[in-house]
Symmetry: C2
Subunit: 196 residues, 2 copies
């Protein structure tokens, strides 16, 4: 009888494992990157391997982030946007980004060359990373980097682990305002959000 109970208990323990494991590997909690007062402490370490690409924007003559900076004529950048696992599938089903979802926009400089496909450019190095964390619950109303349903962060290549944005209104709002009606995201470049 004792052995019988042990069997049942063992079965419960073991059969409970695979789903929770599989769930863990399929989800990523963006709030693991955040402290109690809403400071975004780091970007996800492993996004190139474990996140999903949403899409890439090619940008000619990019406008620098620094206020008052001049346009960089003749430059070409590639902006790669990755999302935490499950984000695209959830968005296709619901039209919304799930609470805790993380988006990483990697801003890459490029090399260019004449390849067999045409005049090509490809990523040569990363300048900076924009990170957004979806917050459906307005968790940090007093933190200037949480606004409009997201946490907003910026990491630059010279100190890639240091969050350097100071306020949504100062560092983020201006560039994202044109897409406020699509939850502040440039969804036109992310076809996987609308169809597989």
């Amino acid at each position: 009888m004792k052995l019988g109970i042990a069997v049942v208990f063992t079965l419960m323990m073991l059969s409970g494992n695979p789903p929770s494991r599989s769930h863990a590997s399929k989800s990523f909690n963006g709030f693991d990157l955040v402290d109690k007062t809403g400071n975004i402490l780091r970007k996800p370490n492993d996004y190139r391997d474990s996140f999903q690409i949403l899409g890439v924007f090619g940008v000619k003559d990019p406008i620098p982030m620094a206020p008052g900076g001049a346009q960089e004529q003749g430059m070409e950048e590639l902006h790669y946007t990755y999302a935490s696992p499950g984000t695209a599938e959830y968005y296709r089903k619901t039209g919304k980004f799930p609470d805790g979802a993380v988006l990483v926009k990697e801003v890459d400089t490029t090399e260019t060359g004449r390849l067999t496909t045409g005049d090509a450019h490809w990523a040569s190095g990363t300048k900076q990373w924009f990170v957004m964390i979806k917050d459906e619950k307005n968790r940090f109303p007093n933190n200037p980097l949480w606004a409009e349903g997201w946490g907003w962060a910026l990491f630059k290549a010279d100190a890639p682990d240091k969050q350097v944005a100071t306020a949504f209104t100062k560092d983020c709002q201006g560039c994202h305002l044109p897409v406020s009606s699509t939850d502040w995201i440039y969804i036109q470049g992310y076809p996987v959000l609308s169809a597989k």
Copy 2:
């Protein structure tokens, strides 16, 4: 005693499950796409959700695939290359693509617009897909679409499930010859192969 055996057997069955499941979700056998004589029957269905992006080339004035076709002036394409799960990690460890690995290059037309980042372009639709399957064992020496350690395939948007390449030498070799020394892959555009 019988119950004891049952317990041990049950434990073996159950404890065997999670690793094999997790392995299954982490690997993709490209030869599932191939028949006995080496015909590549289809492209992977779910690559946008389940494969990993290796990198994206922006291509200005792309050269059309069709022999003798003129360069498309003023056009801009984005070429997204995805790899089956585990490919990048394996390549970083060994410097090689694993047997059965699948690469999908999605060739996208673009829309362009003045965005807050600069003169941007982003994917608007897919023209065609190039598919490569790594074959370390020279499995199909008599099939003209298997050569140089890979199976080579092409699918076009007007019939996305129909493989239309006829021979490596005719449809594939010319464009890939410049990178024959890096296993025929344009690895310079795929930074995730060299570092995370």
